[in-house]
Subunit: 162 residues, 2 copies
Amino acid sequence: MAKKLSLGYKVFLTHSGNLNMPTSPTPLQDQADRFARAREAQSVALLEDYVELIGDLHAELGEARVADIAQRMGVAQPTATKAIARLKREGLATSRPYRGVFLTEDGSAMADRVRSRHRTIVAFLIAVGVPEDVAETDAEGIEHHVSGHTLKAFERFLAQRD
Amino acid sequence: MAKKLSLGYKVFLTHSGNLNMPTSPTPLQDQADRFARAREAQSVALLEDYVELIGDLHAELGEARVADIAQRMGVAQPTATKAIARLKREGLATSRPYRGVFLTEDGSAMADRVRSRHRTIVAFLIAVGVPEDVAETDAEGIEHHVSGHTLKAFERFLAQRD
DNA sequence: CGTGAAAGATAGCCAGTGCTATACCTTCTG
DNA sequence: CAGAAGGTATAGCACTGGCTATCTTTCACG
């Protein structure tokens, strides 16, 4: 973390020596930050997907088995196991060998948040004229990159539409 | 395969017993496909970002140097070099050692497509009430997951707004 | 109640994307 | 025109997220 910050600053200073940037108040650093942000979001995306899915499985089937998780994520079972290991490391889930997977309090909270965001985005896309199945597919990729700010805008849009 | 199918059916039946399935012709496979699609998009995202950036640099500075690319992407220089190697492998760019990086015809086409999509998405987000800087940031992550279908919907929305 | 099939865990491989450190060209300057 | 400075390439490490193959545990049924 501190590492990333220091690098960021170094880059900024190095470049300001160039003096050939057009207008922009924060010309380069901004863009670099945006990319960094997107990369960061990506690293969280997978956690969010798994956590949401585990929540769904508990709601639908009363438990979340590794095989079901793998199947719904469309990955091989060891891949799911590895992802679950990461969830445990991050304090989002627990599991007992050969039993199911369970969300911690944090995990549940994340699942709720993610599910709600997902629903909003799908509803929003449909509201602007995207077919339901496309909306569902696009939302799967988009959702992890929609900031709270943008989500609020979507909600406002939906509300004023009613 | 047979294993997965049988499990799939079990879940489906279990669930249809609930009588709250809407329509869905393919309950589980769909979701797995969506995740697969999102993963696929992710693998292309980085290429798109680099290609667009290289195009921008050529437009702004007349050339695209590795150092500038790295700086704007917010990564270390060897990371940019490695990414460029991948672009070359995929036929999107060429480069001569210690000279600049150049887009192939395919690369240019991709850059144009990506840039246009990016602009549309930012304009759309702003149109629905997202502040410009947030729109810019979110677009950076979102754009790679917006299908042609959804992009069209965004364009229609913008057009009817004018 | 024992066993075989299915579920889950583990090992080991690969590719991608970061990083730092270091070696190697080019270029610019004194 | 030599040498310093800076841009570029390369080597090597770490981690993530895929995969297959294989071993272990559970559990359901004969």
